[in-house]
C-alpha cells in the first residue's frame, strides 16, 4: 500500500508548527500505523530529513504512551483501539492521512507529535490512591466485595491514562480520566473512606491545570481506546456533590 501523509512538525514547545507532506511507500496492510511511521522515518533518515518524533512503548494498547490524532480523531476512527493497535488495513490504498499530536490546553507539545501529559500524574498525586502503607494490610478476603461492584470498579480502572478523552473534548476536559479513577476507587470498600477528600482534591487540581468541564458531548467515550463509559463522569459529579458539604480535609 501507499499513502500520502500530512504530518505535524514542530521543533519545540514554542516553535511554530506546520503540516509537512511525506510519502509512505511499500506498506503492508498488517502493519500498525506506528510501524508505518517507523518505516517512513527510515526513509527520511536516508534522505537526510529529520525523522518524525513520536512516542510509543508497549505497542499493544496498554501503556498509554502513543497518542496521535489521525484525520482529526485521537487514536483514529477505529473504535476501541490505541494508535499503536491501529492497522493499515483500515485505510484505503493511496489515501491521504493527516497525523497530528493530541491537542488539548493541558497537553503542551514537546516536539512534533509528542505532548506533555504529566498533568495526569499531578491529578493522581492529589488523591488518586488509597492511603495504605506497605505492612498495614489486613487479609485479602477480610472484606467481601460484591462481584457487580468489583466489575464496575474494573470497568473504570481499565483507563490507560492516554489522554484521548481530553484531546477529543471541545472543552479539553480530563473528566473521563478523573471520573474513572474516582469511580474505580469509590466502588471498592477500601477506597470509600477517603472518597470526599479524594474527589475534592483531584477535581481542584484538574481545574487548576486548565482542564475544562464536561458539557455532555460524549466525544471522550467515542475515542476512548478502552471504551470507558461517560457514566463515570456522572459518578464523578455525584461524588463531587456528595463531598461538597464535608470539610475540605475530611476523610
Amino acid at each position: 500500500m501507499e499513502f500520502t501523509l500530512r504530518v505535524w512538525r514542530q521543533a519545540g514547545p514554542t516553535a511554530q508548527g506546520r503540516l509537512e507532506t511525506y510519502r509512505a511507500t511499500d506498506i503492508d496492510s498488517d502493519m500498525s500505523i506506528l510501524e508505518m511511521l517507523d518505516k517512513v522515518n527510515l526513509d527520511l533518515i536516508k534522505e537526510g530529513i529529520e525523522p518524525i518524533a513520536f512516542e510509543s512503548d508497549c505497542r499493544e494498547g496498554i501503556c498509554g504512551m502513543c497518542g496521535l490524532a489521525i484525520d482529526g480523531v485521537p487514536h483514529g476512527k477505529e473504535k476501541g483501539t490505541t494508535t499503536c493497535e491501529l492497522r493499515m488495513r483500515h485505510f484505503t490504498d493511496g489515501q491521504t492521512i493527516t497525523i497530528e499530536p493530541f491537542r488539548a490546553g493541558c497537553f503542551p507539545v514537546i516536539k512534533d507529535l509528542i505532548v506533555d501529559r504529566t498533568v495526569m500524574d499531578r491529578i493522581i498525586q492529589a488523591g488518586g490512591y488509597v492511603s495504605v502503607r506497605s505492612g498495614s494490610q489486613p487479609d485479602a478476603n477480610t472484606i467481601p466485595v460484591a462481584k457487580k461492584d468489583q466489575e464496575e470498579s474494573m470497568d473504570a480502572a481499565e483507563c490507560i491514562g492516554c489522554g484521548a478523552c481530553a484531546a477529543a473534548c471541545p472543552n479539553g476536559s480530563l473528566m473521563l480520566f478523573v471520573g474513572s479513577k474516582v469511580s474505580h476507587l469509590v466502588k471498592m470498600p477500601q477506597g470509600q473512606l477517603e472518597a470526599a477528600r479524594r474527589v475534592k482534591n483531584m477535581t481542584r487540581v484538574m481545574r487548576q491545570e486548565g482542564s475544562g468541564n464536561c458539557s455532555n458531548h460524549y466525544e471522550c467515550q467515542a475515542v476512548c481506546p478502552k471504551e470507558i463509559d461517560v457514566k463515570f463522569i456522572a459518578r464523578l459529579n455525584r461524588e463531587f456533590l456528595k463531598a461538597l458539604p464535608k470539610e475540605a480535609d475530611e476523610g
Binding site: D28, D30, M31, L34, E35, M36, K39, L42, I45, E50, P51, A53, E55, S56, D57, C58, R59, E60, G61, I62, C63, M65, G80, T81, E85, R87, I110, K111, I114, R117, T118, M120, D121, I124, Q125, Y129, V130, S131, V132, R133, S134, G135, S136, Q137, P138, A140, N141, P144, V145, K147, Q150, S153, M154, A157, E158, I160, G161, H184, L185, Q190
Partner: protein
C-alpha cells in the same frame, strides 16, 4: 572466584525472620530522613520500592525513561499473580509454591530466596487488595483464582486480563501519594546512562534528560536498579520497544556481575511473526491455556482449513506428550514442543511457524458469555492484530516469543550486587526463577522485592554509611559526564549508511536463530561471530541524525543498541559455557531420548556471574555454587 550469596543460617522456613532480627540492622525513624535513595525504573519492582522506602521516611529520587512512571512495561503483564493463599482449599501452601518454583526453574535458583518469595506472596495480595485493586471475585464476594502453567493448584489472582496494569497502577498510586508527601521526586523522560561509584560504592547516576539532551548528575546514599530484562536483544519480543538492558550494562561496566545471562524465557502463546517492519510480538496470556488446546495437523504441509481437519488428523501434542499437565506444561517445555512440530513442517498459517490454540471445546463447555468474560480482551486484541475473530473461528494461531529473562545482575540474599550500595530488584536481578520462570511469578517477585524485601535489607547497608556523604559536584560525576559526552559524540560522528533500527533487526535475527529456543556449540559460535560483525558495522556504518543536545530518539535507539550488542556477547558466551540443558536454556547436545532438557548437576549446579574486563576483553566468570538443603534434585517431569 566463588561468590557468597550470604544466605542466612537456620532452617529454610525460619531464615528470613531470623535474618530480619539478627542479620539486618535498623535505622531509627528520625535518621531515615537523612538518607536519599535513587531508584531507576518504575515498574512493579521500582514503583513498589520507591513507595515503600518513602513510607519509611527515606527520600527517594525515581527515574524512568517514559514520560510517567505509570507507563513502565509491567503494565503489559496480563495473566496474574501467584500467592500461596490456599483459598481454593486445593492443597496449596507456602511450601508447595516454593517447591513448584524451584522445580519450574529446573533447580537453578537459590533455595532461600525462593522460599522467602513464597512466604511473602500472601502479604502482596493482602496489600494489593487494601490498595483497592479490583481483583476478579466470585459471586460470594471473595477472591477468584485460576491456574497457570507448572502448577496443579489454582493460586493465581487476576484482574481480568490486565493484572499487570492494575498492580502497577496500585504501586504507582502509592508512589504518587509519596510524591504528594514530598518524599518521592519523579524524574520522567530520563535515561540512566552511567552508574557513578565513589570509593567503590554506588553513590549516584548520570541521566540523560531525553527532552533537553542534557546530562544530569544525581547523587544519593544508595542506588536501586529495577530496570527490567533484556528480551529486546532478540529485537522482536513481548517487551516494550523501549525496554532495554542499558542500565544493567552500565552497572556491569562498573564492575557489577551479570548472572546467568543465557537464561531467557520464550513464551509459548504469542501472536506469530508477520513482517520485517513489525515492532513487537504480542503476548496472548498463558491463562488461555486453561481452556485452549494446542494442536497441529498430524501430516506435514496440511493446508486444509482447520475446520476441515477431523479430530483423527490432529495432533494435540502437549496433551499427548504431557498427559498430567497437558496444555498447562511449563513455558519452556510448551515453547520447545511448538518449535519442534513446526521444524517438522507441521506448522500452520502463512509462515508455517505457528500452531493452533483451539477453544472449540471450551466454547461448547462454557458458552460465549463466559468465554467473553474470561478472555474477551485477549480475543479483541487478537482481532485487532490479525483481523480474525476468535468468537467465530473458535481458535487462534500462536507461536513462542521472547518474553522474560531470568538472568540479571548478580545479587546476594539482601538483593545487593557485588558493588556495595547497588541493589537490584525484579526482572533486573537473577535470583528467584532459575532457568525458567513459572507463569504469574514475575509480578509476585517484582512486588516482593519492592514492597517487602528492599525496605528491610537496604537499611543494613545504609546503617553503615554516613548520609549525604557525596554530592553531584564530586569529580567522579564530572569524569562520567566527559566519558558519556565522548561516547555520544562518537555515535553521532560515524554518519554511515544504516540506522540503529536496521542493525537492531540484524542483531535480533542472529540471537533468535542461534541463541533462541535451541542452542548448540555451532550456533553459539556462529552467534559470537555475527555479534562481532554487527558491532563492527555499528561502530563504522551507523547513522544517527541530529545532535546530542536535543530530543533525539535516534540517538536513544543507538545508545540502547550499543549496550544490547555488548550484552549479546556476554549472553552467547554464557550459553556456550553452560554445556548442559536446563529450563529455558536448551543445548541440543544435551537432551533425553524424549527430547527433554538434560541437566548436568554434577558440573553446572551453580550460578555463573560474569565480570567485565574491559572493551574487547572476554569477561571473567565467577561462580556461586547452588546448595540444595531442602529439595532433592530430580529430573523435571510434567508427564
Amino acid at each position: 572466584m566463588i561468590l557468597d550469596g550470604k544466605v542466612p543460617a537456620g532452617p529454610l522456613a525460619e531464615k528470613w525472620d531470623r535474618h530480619k532480627f539478627k542479620g539486618l540492622k535498623l535505622i531509627n525513624p528520625a535518621n531515615k530522613r537523612k538518607y536519599r535513595i535513587i531508584v531507576v525504573g518504575t515498574g512493579l519492582a521500582g514503583a513498589s520500592a520507591a513507595a515503600s522506602l518513602a513510607e519509611l521516611g527515606y527520600y527517594v529520587d525515581a527515574f524512568c525513561y517514559q514520560e510517567s512512571p505509570r507507563r513502565a512495561h509491567s503494565i503489559g503483564a496480563q495473566g496474574g499473580i501467584n500467592a500461596a493463599k490456599n483459598y481454593q482449599n486445593d492443597g496449596d501452601s507456602v511450601y508447595r509454591l516454593f517447591y513448584d518454583t524451584i522445580k519450574g526453574g529446573d533447580f537453578r535458583s537459590r533455595e532461600a530466596n525462593v522460599y522467602r518469595l513464597a512466604m511473602i506472596s500472601n502479604a502482596i495480595i493482602d496489600l494489593c487488595v487494601a490498595q483497592g485493586i479490583p481483583f476478579t471475585r466470585e459471586y460470594g464476594g471473595l477472591l477468584a483464582n485460576r491456574s497457570f502453567g507448572g502448577a496443579q493448584v489454582s493460586r493465581t489472582f487476576y484482574c481480568r486480563g490486565q493484572t499487570g496494569q492494575q498492580l502497577l497502577l496500585g504501586a504507582y498510586q502509592a508512589m504518587q501519594r509519596q510524591v504528594r508527601e514530598g518524599r518521592v521526586a519523579v524524574y520522567g523522560r530520563r535515561e540512566m546512562v552511567d552508574l557513578v561509584l565513589i570509593d567503590g560504592e554506588a553513590k549516584g547516576i548520570l541521566a540523560r534528560n531525553l527532552v533537553s539532551g542534557e546530562l544530569e548528575a544525581y547523587a544519593a546514599d544508595a542506588v536501586v536498579l529495577a530496570t527490567g530484562g533484556y528480551s529486546t536483544v532478540f529485537n522482536l519480543s513481548t517487551n516494550a520497544v523501549g525496554s532495554n538492558v542499558g542500565a544493567a550494562m552500565r552497572a556491569f561496566r562498573k564492575g557489577a556481575y551479570f548472572a546467568n545471562p543465557c537464561f531467557t524465557q520464550i513464551h509459548p502463546t504469542c501472536i506469530p511473526f508477520s513482517g520485517y517492519y513489525q515492532s513487537k510480538l504480542t503476548l496472548m496470556s498463558e491463562s488461555l491455556r486453561n481452556d485452549g488446546r494446542v494442536w497441529v495437523p498430524k501430516q506435514k504441509d496440511d493446508s486444509r482449513d482447520p475446520n476441515d481437519i477431523p479430530e483423527s488428523d490432529r495432533d494435540y501434542f502437549l496433551e499427548r506428550k504431557y498427559p498430567s499437565f497437558g496444555n498447562l506444561a511449563p513455558r519452556d517445555i510448551a515453547s520447545r514442543a511448538a518449535k519442534e512440530v513446526c521444524d517438522e513442517g507441521r506448522g500452520v498459517g502463512p509462515t508455517k511457524y505457528a500452531v493452533y490454540l483451539d477453544f472449540e471445546e471450551a466454547f461448547n463447555r462454557l458458552g460465549s458469555r463466559t468465554m467473553d468474560e474470561r478472555y474477551g480482551n485477549l480475543f479483541e486484541m487478537y482481532r485487532q492484530i490479525t483481523d480474525e475473530d476468535v468468537f467465530t473461528e473458535k481458535r487462534m494461531r500462536i507461536y513462542p516469543s521472547p518474553h522474560y529473562t531470568m538472568g540479571g545482575l548478580w545479587v546476594d540474599y539482601n538483593l545487593q550486587s557485588n558493588i556495595s550500595g547497588l541493589f537490584v530488584l525484579g526482572e533486573a536481578n537473577f535470583s528467584d526463577h532459575g532457568a525458567n520462570r513459572l507463569g504469574a511469578s514475575a509480578l509476585m517477585q517484582g512486588l516482593a522485592d519492592g514492597y517487602f524485601i528492599i525496605p528491610y535489607t537496604i537499611a543494613n547497608y545504609l546503617a553503615e554509611t554516613t548520609p549525604g556523604k557525596v554530592d553531584a559536584s564530586h569529580q567522579e560525576f564530572t569524569r562520567s559526564r566527559q566519558e558519556i559526552e565522548e561516547r555520544n559524540r562518537k555515535l553521532l560522528s560515524i554518519q554511515g549508511g544504516k540506522t540503529a533500527h536496521e542493525l537492531r533487526i540484524e542483531l535480533g535475527n542472529t540471537m533468535w536463530e542461534n541463541v533462541g529456543m535451541a542452542r548448540s556449540r555451532e550456533t553459539l559460535s556462529q552467534a559470537l561471530e555475527d555479534i562481532a560483525a554487527v558491532r563492527e558495522e555499528f561502530w563504522s556504518n551507523l547513522r544517527v541524525p541530529g545532535g546530542a543536545d536535543t530530543l533525539n530518539q535516534q540517538l536513544e535507539q543507538a545508545w540502547r543498541l550499543a549496550e544490547s550488542i555488548d550484552f549479546a556477547e556476554v549472553m552467547a558466551r554464557d550459553a556456550l559455557h553452560r554445556d548442559e540443558s536446563c529450563g529455558g536454556h536448551f543445548r541440543i547436545e544435551h537432551q533425553t531420548e524424549e527430547g527433554e532438557a538434560k541437566r548436568n548437576d554434577a558440573e553446572y549446579a551453580y550460578v555463573a556471574a560474569w565480570e567485565f574486563k574491559g572493551d574487547g576483553q572476554i569477561p571473567e566468570m565467577h561462580t556461586e555454587p547452588l546448595e540444595f538443603e531442602e529439595v532433592a534434585l530430580t529430573t523435571r517431569s510434567y508427564k
